[in-house]
Symmetry: C2
Subunit: 155 residues, 2 copies
Amino acid sequence: MDYIGTIHSPFTSLADMPVQPKGAAEKTGTVIIDRCYQEGLRDLEGFSHIYLIYHFHKASRTKLSVTPFLDTTSRGVFATRSPLRPNHIGLSVVELVAREENVLTIKGLDILDGTPLLDIKPYIEAFDAVEKSRSGWFTGTGATVRNARSDTRFT
Amino acid sequence: MDYIGTIHSPFTSLADMPVQPKGAAEKTGTVIIDRCYQEGLRDLEGFSHIYLIYHFHKASRTKLSVTPFLDTTSRGVFATRSPLRPNHIGLSVVELVAREENVLTIKGLDILDGTPLLDIKPYIEAFDAVEKSRSGWFTGTGATVRNARSDTRFT
């Protein structure tokens, strides 16, 4: 895997960071893609939302059971979004505000400043929208997510 | 990156495969997770939908401009879901029907049989639902996606 760029955000420390994009709906950041991949960004600006797939580069270990930020019970790591998964891959859906050459302006990001990027995919409603779902242990609401903040337990 | 398991599907050839999970809503497959990671699956069965992050292992090259299955115009690869991206990472949201120990039964999969798995994440509506979005070059409908089939252009 090669890094294709870097995510820049207002969050320079894991302590007190939003735990999900919806906790940072008004926070703006940028993604700077390596110039050698710029051609691959053509047409991306037509999409209002994109998936960022990135490397949780501050996660240095794996735990198969973790207690998520939004819960008080230990859960299997694949039933959570914790960084301490076997492959330290992160996934966020963010709003794409603009693209200028190799720079994306994004909104609603829950990602640490300096995070290396692995991939970008367009969010396409006809592929990706889930009409009705059941969210297991997560019994919170949008407000729970908006107000939750991280700490350093997952480094 | 280590493979954490393997995806088994009815699709043994890239020719004539659905191009997105919504093209295979009634197709059932299984994900077999390596036993050493089984503990990490605890509580996953509470979720009706999961993200599978996998390796497009049949993609052997990178193209920064591609013509998607659902379009007739060349687009930047990051504005598409083509496998020929710099890192050959695939992402699908699928329905989780059941978990039995290290085996997941899933529905609505658009993934080639034998595909190696990198990560599983729960789909959590409060994190992931996008209320209103704009899908760029993709002007089709759900029916377009359901009826589209792949070919071997992306190997």
